[in-house]
Symmetry: C2
Amino acid sequence: MAQIGSRICIIGAGNVATHLAMALSESVCVCQVVSRHIETAGRLADMVGGGCLASDNLDELLPDADFYLISVNDDRVAEIVAGTPDFPGIWAHTSGSVPADVFKGYKSRYGVFYPLQTFTRDLDVDVSEVPFFIEGVDRDVCDALISLANSISRSVEEADSSRRKVLHLAAVFACNFANLMWVEADEILRSEGLTINYLMPLLKVTLGKLRDISPAEAMTGPARRHDTDIIESHLAMLPPDKREIYRLLSDAIMDKFGK
Amino acid sequence: MAQIGSRICIIGAGNVATHLAMALSESVCVCQVVSRHIETAGRLADMVGGGCLASDNLDELLPDADFYLISVNDDRVAEIVAGTPDFPGIWAHTSGSVPADVFKGYKSRYGVFYPLQTFTRDLDVDVSEVPFFIEGVDRDVCDALISLANSISRSVEEADSSRRKVLHLAAVFACNFANLMWVEADEILRSEGLTINYLMPLLKVTLGKLRDISPAEAMTGPARRHDTDIIESHLAMLPPDKREIYRLLSDAIMDKFGK
């Protein structure tokens, strides 16, 4: 289990690594940050404090840490796994779309420590509200990673690689595609000298509703009302690319919701 | 201009009427609520207080108010306009999609008093943050309605009927279609025994980014990265209706954003 006094090496110093290191350093000992650039490793080690070491060389990785958290871009996880020794501590990466199998044959005790959040450098995130999804090669490893996650978040669950993939797929719809709708709205408004900012109060309330009711119950608008007069007048206002999206999504809403 | 002491009749007692009446009653005199049902009219008049009258009969409408706000379902505006006298006060409806012309030939002094927000009975909305879009048949009427809106909101602009239509169209994308993405995500998650609630911290941060950067700048995800491996693996996981949406929206993102 992750005891008070557990020692953690963080590999990576980007947005995710930074937010995790800062949150973890409140309850456990983040003893080393290794990153390709000594400046970013040093900056994060300084932020963590408590004598945390900084290095730009994986050969200097401490051999006796309890956890090694690999928090780098998805496409760099495999090379780091292959390029480091099988130290006895627990190895985990923080990526939603890399399977736990990436460790197979290279490490004995491994798992996944996935925070379902988009971290931006200058944007504060309350890590205690971030859901963590945990996978471990065996019960012991899984419990240790769960305990570590519990030390920083109130929402911790087990999820194997296929479940994590479903979460990622859902996040593409909920975040990336919803954001595309805001891009389209912004473009429409800019043609009238307005911006998406005018819709922010409306968007806040629209999202806020999901605290109390499901998105299906919260649905409103012309397609939900099967108001074909308004739908047709909207289609006539749109350029072809937006018209195709408007038509497909309105049809999807009308199919899903009866009159 | 809307002076302290202006007297307002509200026609309607639904969600929009209720939120507006309560906000207006803090700075002007809401003197009458007329609604089809005496119970709902009475309930709102009691909430407003200050001797506000309640009626279920448009024939009892006070002839000497400064403003008559018609806040009912879109499809009832025209009949109410046609069924009431041309009292000398200013008439306005609160609908985004009904043109100001609905008053033409029936009233002399008229306009639109449109709050760009979705009001839900039990959900508190800070009206001072709601953008109001105002239209008036002449300068005098427009100024009076702007002044009335300024008494309850910090965001008041003029918008003619065609501009209001663009706002409504943008809101369909930004709210209704974004909400459809949350419906799809919720359905995907429920297949794994999860719900959209797991994505709420992520959604809050995604929306919060728009305070600082445009939605185009905030775009992330596999399509933004042109990561066709992940896109193909996601398509393979989806049923046909969701696959069509995923493909069209990913293509739209890839078209909009270079590698």
